[in-house]
């Protein structure tokens, strides 16, 4: 079979958020001595291998740990236990417009977002025209980004993210705001990426899209793997469970 793109072994992430039940002066002072925390297990021993050329979906209820898992793969969050190995150039679209400064023009933000993602200035200059063309924003590129509609913003951000020419793409529910034509365009781009043995990890609540687009799907529940396997089977099982819970 094909070689792995991401190998996650026994990932456990615990958060210790501060609990502020009823902030009073006395509690605030007490908090300085022993911080009132409540341990929260966001991921609990997740074991997973994602292969090259695979479109992998992650589904689950709000707070199940999907975004946390993507952050571990993006290496911005170090797990408390376990290890993750990522083989390839990763483009992370956990949020759109990372590194952007909305006061500045689209032109300037292509540079800022590209540099933040890890490109060099010379590479960005070279790719600039194709980024603008891909985003379809020639008419607005010198306007401050704060004047963009949310769809325009996500077009620009996605175009910058793809300019990295990643082998691995981590997506967290970010393509929901584009219009029909841009959604088709981005889907085409992602299929191209897969055809070139790229890997896509895709978190979404749009279940039909997940079932259609992904090869395999993982269903997370309260930080644990509830089910992992062929896309439509997992999505169906998840939908059944949600129906029953009502």
């Amino acid at each position: 079979m094909s070689s792995p793109a991401i190998v996650a072994k026994d990932i456990t992430v615990r958060f210790r958020p501060m609990v502020d039940r009823n902030p009073t002066l006395r509690r605030s002072i007490g908090r300085m001595r022993h911080r009132e925390t409540q341990e929260l297990v966001a991921l609990d021993g997740v074991d997973l291998t994602i292969n090259k050329g695979e479109a992998f979906g992650i589904i689950g209820r709000n707070g199940a740990g999907k975004s946390t898992f993507l952050r571990v793969m993006a290496r911005t969050l170090k797990p408390d236990e376990g290890s993750v190995n990522v083989y390839g150039k990763t483009s992370t679209l956990l949020q759109l417009g990372v590194g952007f400064n909305v006061q500045l023009s689209g032109r300037r933000n292509i540079l800022l977002g590209g540099l933040a993602a890890g490109l060099r200035k010379s590479e960005i200059d070279e790719k600039y025209d194709s980024i603008v063309e891909y985003a379809g924003l020639e008419y607005a590129i010198d306007r401050p980004v704060r004047t963009y509609s949310s769809g325009m913003f996500s077009r620009l951000a996605f175009a910058v993210g793809m300019a990295l020419e990643p082998n691995i793409l981590l997506l967290d529910e970010v393509l929901a705001v584009g219009d029909e034509s841009f959604r088709n365009k981005s889907m085409d781009t992602m299929r191209e990426l897969l055809a070139k043995a790229g890997t896509i990890v895709f978190v979404s609540h749009a279940l039909p899209n997940v079932a259609e687009f992904c090869d395999r799907v993982m269903w997370l529940e309260a930080g644990k793997v509830r089910m992992i396997g062929e896309a439509s089977a997992v999505v169906e099982a998840y939908q059944t469970a949600v129906q029953e819970a009502r």
Binding site: T76, K78, V98, L112, A116, G118, P144
Partner: protein, 277 residues
């Protein structure tokens, strides 16, 4: 250990353009919606200088300081004395303010991308350095016509002194950046701390003001790392005589120690920062 340092430094170096354009973007955005735009970098120190000129030059009429320059008696106007300390002090102050916010105001970058976090305080320092360098030009723009103080051969000292000061501010800003991540309250404390630091530094009074205040007080004030740094600026900007060797030694010592400790402490903590977003 050694190879880890090398990897980190080369990662940092590979991202130098990111740091630079991040700083430039923030500079541009800061005044993007104002009418004067980038001119504010000159207007700010000019206004600052004018305010102190009104207070000390006109209201208090502090007159002149009797010092020596090149071994000869020299009368330095109080305005020149004040501004030659005030502008460098504000560099340290803005480096601290920028450092405090450098991590906590960039949570989106931190949550999404993997890069050496030291980039962020460095970018913030680049930002405040631009303001400081312009203020050095503004210094001569003010005291030149008013007091007849122009650059001389001693002004060459400005370059090494600014480098030492930059290193000192770098250390300081990495420390406050690191502390502010778990301890957001720092943001509220910095203005009071810098105010106190200003009054404890020889900016609005001369070093001789401390004489007779008791040996302990005097020794404490001289422990202030800005003491030798401001002395060096006085020499570089106005040419008045100072104890160059001991000031250089003390300032360099502070800068090296603070930046080494600050960076090591910051980098060691990097992995945990994402937990506090």
């Amino acid at each position: 250990m050694f190879s880890a340092v090398r990897t980190y430094v080369s990662d940092l170096w590979a991202r130098r353009e990111f740091a630079w354009y991040l700083a430039m973007g923030n500079l541009k955005a800061r005044n993007a919606s104002t009418s004067f735009g980038l001119l504010w970098w000159v207007i700010n120190p000019l206004l600052l200088g004018s305010v102190y000129w009104v207070v000390f030059g006109i209201l208090f009429d502090r007159g002149t300081l009797e010092l020596t320059r090149g071994g000869e008696f020299y009368e330095l106007s109080f305005l020149a004395y004040l501004l030659s300390g005030m502008f460098p002090f504000f560099f340290t102050q803005s480096a601290m303010t920028g450092g405090v916010n450098s991590i906590v105001s960039n949570t989106k970058l931190l949550a999404n991308l993997h890069f050496p976090r030291l980039i962020l305080p460095i970018a913030a320092l680049v930002e405040s350095s631009v303001g400081f360098v312009t203020s050095m030009g503004v210094f001569f723009l003010i005291v030149g016509p008013i007091n007849g103080i122009w650059p001389g051969p001693w002004t060459l000292w400005l370059f090494p002194v600014m480098l030492i000061h930059l290193l000192f501010n770098f250390g300081l800003s990495t420390i406050v950046a690191r502390v502010a991540v778990p301890f957001r309250d720092l943001n509220n404390l910095v203005p009071y701390f810098t105010r106190l630091w200003l009054y404890m530094s020889p900016v609005i009074y001369e070093a001789s003001f401390l004489e007779g205040k008791g040996e302990l007080v005097e020794r404490m004030f001289r422990l202030n790392p800005l003491f030798p740094i401001l002395e060096l600026y006085r020499h570089a900007l106005t040419g008045v005589d100072i104890d160059l060797a001991s000031s250089l030694l003390a300032a360099t010592g502070w800068a090296v120690v603070l930046s080494t400790l600050g960076v090591a402490w910051f980098v060691k903590y990097e992995g945990k920062m994402a937990r506090y977003l």
